[in-house]
């Protein structure tokens, strides 16, 4: 799954994602990627977030929306993602997944579970190439 959040020079933001879902899924199964607030969420006044992982489990906790709402209250992006991940892990200790967030001020962060680490990509003005950042998981 690809999840993405973008901030442009006018201060406008967008978010989204695309996936082919779980291998051998029951036909008709919908991943978290397509679900507003689970796969991604964004609000110009706050920031945006996106998610990837075990979609059957994650979509029940609306993690992208959760992270955006925490950022609305001033929580830093990485902390907001961590809180969203913790909620899921509380009910699903074996789940695999990650949440990535970017706020309207250009701060970004992520949190993950069920993996040793989670890599995400960032590109900013003046960079020649995107940078891949790796964070340890919960």
């Amino acid at each position: 799954t690809i999840g993405m959040v973008s901030l442009d020079s006018n201060g406008n933001m967008a978010a989204g994602g695309s996936t082919n879902g779980l291998q051998f899924k029951i036909p008709g199964r919908v991943s978290d990627t397509a679900l507003i607030g689970s796969g991604a969420y964004v609000d110009n006044d706050v920031g945006g977030a996106c998610a990837t992982g075990d979609g059957d489990v994650m979509q029940r906790f609306v993690p992208s929306y959760h992270a955006v709402q925490l950022m609305r209250q001033g929580v830093a992006p990485d902390e907001a993602c961590l809180d969203a991940i913790k909620r899921i892990a509380q009910f699903n200790p074996n789940f695999t997944g990650a949440v990535l967030a970017l706020d309207k001020n250009g701060r970004y962060g992520a949190a993950c579970h069920g993996m040793d680490s989670f890599p995400y990509s960032v590109m900013k003005q003046g960079w020649i190439d995107p940078e891949v950042l790796q964070i340890p998981c919960l």
């Binding site: 879902g21 036909p27 397509a34 009910f91 590109m123 003005q125």
Partner: protein, 182 residues
């Protein structure tokens, strides 16, 4: 107010991130265009087998796609799920946002909408996905996502029917095989 443009992307999808950022830096382009271009790059490149056509077949061997795009300025949204026979899922999601007042279209109806909006209908199978599917069928259809059915889904393929006595609890200890997720 002016901001410093940024794109963040799950996983080390370098080309998708680069293309999205480059698009955003193009005069007249928007952050929405950036997300569309970035996701489209991964659909075309079939990033890690989890995006786009030709991988992750369902139980019936078909690959179907899900996508979502949200405009943070207007809160407009376009999403598609269980999209059949169309490779450019994020484009169809953008079309839902642009050419309808709905938010989410699913299944064959979403495919019909896409075709009406000018998207190309194509086969999303690949030799790889067919081979993967055949191997899975020949291996008693493991893993699968069935429970409380008979025959025993941990040892057998379907067709399945409900098991009289169900375990009520949803096992929260389910663990997907490594790398097998959305």
């Amino acid at each position: 107010s002016s901001s410093s443009p940024i794109v963040v992307t799950t996983w080390p999808f370098i080309n998708a991130t680069r293309n999205a950022f480059a698009k955003m830096m193009t005069p007249g382009a928007t952050c929405l265009d950036a997300v569309e271009v970035g996701c489209r790059t991964c659909e075309d490149e079939q990033c890690d087998g989890s995006v786009g056509w030709g991988n992750h077949p369902a139980e019936d061997g078909e690959t179907t796609l899900d996508a979502l795009i949200i405009d943070g300025r207007t809160m407009s949204v376009g999403a598609v799920a269980n999209l059949h026979r169309i490779k450019n899922a994020i484009g169809v999601a953008r079309a839902v946002l642009q050419y309808s007042t709905h938010s989410l279209l699913v299944g064959e109806s979403a495919t019909k909408f896409a075709i009406d909006m000018g998207f190309k209908e194509e086969d999303l199978h690949s030799n790889g996905s067919i081979e993967t599917w055949n191997k899975w069928k020949n291996g008693n259809c493991q893993p699968n996502f069935r429970r409380n059915v008979q025959p025993d889904p941990t040892t057998s393929c379907g067709p399945y029917t409900p098991k009289p006595q169900c375990d009520k609890e949803f096992s929260s200890h389910r663990q997907l095989p490594y790398g097998e997720h959305d």
